[in-house]
């Protein structure tokens, strides 16, 4: 029980962090059709900006300023980069964002060095909020849950209750029609891209000191975010939310269950020994392949339900 509750909380925190990253990406992907490889780089930039800003004015202003900076970076990328590349089709866009991700990584390495920077949790939140069965639940994790929860609410309200949200939703499925109705679709694109990047930046601000702020953080976070987006389905914020939480919980719980296929087979009366064919594979325990599970699930969902969990159209 102890393990279950603690793991549930940890899974939730990680899932919500994934959601902050993935929500921006899913908006960009479903609206513009751009698989933005540089999205996780914005997450990294957010963390580094927040670190640098917090050196001068503290964590709280950084929480606001860093995502805004990331938003501007995103807007600049969209207006002066993607929009030009867009004419040459999706492959060009893909390669463009891929190159961008590498450039940002090198840039960060040159600007801040290869080593992790000491970006720490603010002193105000650096205490155990409560303790379950002797394991501390840091206040900062609760704060992360709060921020990401508020963000989910804000996006949902923004998309469903505001005029611009309605236009964005319309542009998701019928961009030409929205353009024909007199809306400035390119500007909406810029807005969505900037907002998505800002969200990733915000995730970086609160994720950078939860994990470690280092140049490899974009590289490690990138693939899993793609999995969430594909799994959740295009154009569905709810799907993205469910997928994020699911991935967070799966990765957390995979670690704590020391079972292997051999154990399952033993339950139905089949004992695996060293001589059994594929014994190596059958005896691999769940924690050892935990990191692989999300990718396995992505492959499965692409085969059996290409539009994802709640997607409205095919990937």
């Amino acid at each position: 029980m102890e393990v279950f509750i603690v793991s549930l909380l940890n899974g939730l925190v990680y899932g919500m962090l994934l959601f902050m990253l993935a929500s921006g990406l899913t908006l960009i992907l479903s609206m513009m059709g751009v698989l933005n490889f540089a999205h996780a780089s914005a997450y990294m930039l957010g963390a580094y900006f927040a670190y640098t800003i917090s050196l001068y004015v503290g964590f709280w202003p950084a929480l606001i300023i860093a995502p805004i900076l990331c938003g501007f970076v995103g807007a600049a990328i969209e207006m002066w980069g993607l929009r030009r590349v867009h004419r040459n089709g999706h492959i060009a866009e893909l390669l463009f964002t891929f190159g961008l991700a590498l450039i940002i990584e090198k840039g960060v390495q040159m600007g801040w060095g290869l080593l992790p920077v000491p970006y720490r949790v603010p002193a105000l939140l650096d205490f155990p909020l409560f303790s379950i069965y002797g394991t501390n639940f840091p206040a900062y994790r609760a704060f992360m849950l709060l921020i990401s929860g508020m963000m989910f609410g804000a996006i949902w309200l923004g998309l469903t209750r505001t005029r611009i949200g309605l236009v964005i939703q319309a542009a998701l499925t019928h961009p030409e029609m929205v353009g024909a109705l007199g809306h400035n679709v390119p500007r909406i694109f810029t807005l969505v891209f900037a907002a998505g990047t800002a969200l990733a930046g915000l995730a970086g601000v609160i994720g950078g000191n939860y994990q470690v702020t280092e140049p490899a953080m974009a590289f490690t976070m990138g693939p899993i975010v793609f999995v969430v987006v594909v799994f959740g389905g295009l154009g569905s914020l709810t799907g993205c939310f469910i997928a994020s939480i699911l991935m967070g919980l799966i990765q957390t719980f995979a670690v704590v269950f020391d079972v292997s296929l051999a154990d399952l087979l033993a339950k139905i009366g089949f004992i695996v020994t060293a001589k059994t064919p594929l014994a190596e594979v059958l005896t691999v325990t769940l924690p050892r392949i935990g990191a692989l599970l999300p990718f396995l699930m992505m492959v499965l969902i692409l085969v059996f339900r290409p539009r994802g969990l709640m997607g409205t159209r095919d990937t």
Partner: protein, 414 residues
């Protein structure tokens, strides 16, 4: 007629150019250095590179070897054996006498095999492999090679040191290691030496994790706590080390950490003040060793690095590698790798701290002094500006780490 004259001129110029290029190349003794300089483990390779360059400057200022200076030529291998082999190819193409590699025993194993083949086939273009930190026990036992010289204690020796360093009140440990050659080596050897030296200690959990993939170790900490372990024993390095300890400290888990690599770059930052007195590391060097034994010269040497860089000079014993090279090259009187290899095996000298060391002839494994450090407040030199640092709690002399080897060395006919 005219054409062939021009052709001959051109050939002449090219030849002359070729001669000057080789003449320039011979002015320095080049060492190819291959480690991850990008990707998740980039910080490890980068920290090594900075420390080596500092040491090389020091050695060159003392005259290098045979009047020539050492020069390090870095090649990024992205933690990938295939890329390391490309680096090896470049090094042999340019006739470099040495290749050095520190991070990743899987990469080391690939290099040893490739170098054995290369040196067999190309007797006039051989290369020596200087291993500065790939420590899987096998590499100087089952897999030992005449061309491979290891300048760090192997896992078996470190595990023995570790088994003796575990405090008496700890009887339940949990093991987490990386799922590859090195991690498996740690897993096996630590268990073997615990059984031998500390039969009262039970291993309550034993686990392998994918290399460099995990971002949040909190679930592991939950599991470790549930197992009732008092301490965690881990050979993890790089982000796998730093994130693991950080997760444990953040959860306020009542655990102690017995590590092989927590003292390397990024470790102190990840542990932070919350880890006061909780983390032990088995290490080749710590910045507080020199002041503790009152060696002023060594202290000045390490302090010089501190002025230049923001992380610890944890690998100051790389200096031993270059001092051995210096002696072996001077002894051989040439930069011919075969002669140097023969000159280096069996060499004994004092390291810069004044402790005995030997490059054991039987398996080309260095036998040198080793230290156990405790991360705590109130040390002379703190680590990475945290205010805490590594205090030496035990110094193990080279005669006490000398484990037998099963190596059957095949020597070339000189």
């Amino acid at each position: 007629m005219r054409q062939s004259f021009w052709l001959r001129m051109l050939m002449g110029v090219l030849l002359a150019l070729g001669v000057t290029v080789t003449a320039q190349a011979q002015q320095t003794i080049k060492i190819a250095y291959t480690d991850p300089l990008s990707g998740p483990f980039a910080q490890v390779g980068d920290a090594n590179l900075k420390q080596m360059n500092y040491i090389i400057d020091h050695i060159n200022a003392k005259g290098g070897a045979l009047g020539k200076k050492f020069e390090l030529v870095p090649f990024d291998n992205k933690s990938n054996p295939a890329d390391a082999l490309i680096a090896l190819k470049s090094a042999t193409d340019q006739n470099m006498p040495f290749i050095m590699q520190c991070s990743g025993s899987n990469i080391a194993a690939a290099l040893i095999e490739a170098i054995n083949k290369h040196n067999d086939r190309n007797p006039d273009n051989r290369i020596i492999y200087l291993n500065c930190g790939a420590v899987a026990t096998e590499l100087t036992n089952e897999q030992c090679s005449f061309w491979h010289f290891r300048f760090d204690l192997h896992v078996g020796m470190k595990a023995e040191v570790m088994s003796r360093a575990i405090p008496k009140d700890v009887t339940k440990v949990y093991m987490i290691n990386q799922d590859y050659l090195f991690g498996q080596s740690v897993q096996r050897d630590v268990k073997a030496f615990l059984a031998k030296n500390r039969p009262d200690v039970t291993v309550v959990g034993d686990e392998l994790i994918p290399l460099g993939k995990i971002k949040d170790f909190s679930p592991y900490i939950t599991k470790i706590k549930a197992s009732g372990a008092q301490a965690l024993v881990t050979g993890n390095w790089g982000p796998d080390m730093n994130l693991l300890i950080k997760a444990g400290i953040d959860a306020g888990a009542d655990l102690r950490y017995f590590t092989f690599y927590a003292h390397l770059a990024g470790g102190a930052t990840a542990i932070g003040p919350g880890g006061d007195g909780k983390v032990l590391s088995v290490m080749s060097f710590g910045e507080n060793v020199a002041p503790e034994i009152g060696n002023k010269e060594a202290e000045a040497f390490t302090n010089g690095f501190r002025q230049l860089h923001k992380f610890d000079f944890a690998a100051a014993t790389f200096r031993t590698i270059f001092e051995y090279l210096q002696s072996a090259i001077n002894k051989a009187g040439s930069v011919d790798p075969t002669k140097i290899a023969f000159a280096m095996e069996g060499l004994s000298q004092k390291d810069f701290l004044g402790y005995d060391s030997t490059m054991r002839k039987d398996d080309h494994q260095i036998i040198s002094a080793y230290y156990v450090g405790l991360f705590k407040k109130g040390v002379k030199y703190d680590a990475e500006g945290t205010g805490l640092g590594w205090a030496t709690t035990a110094t193990i002399l080279s005669k006490d780490v000398n484990q037998p080897t099963i190596c059957k060395m095949k020597r070339p006919s000189a």
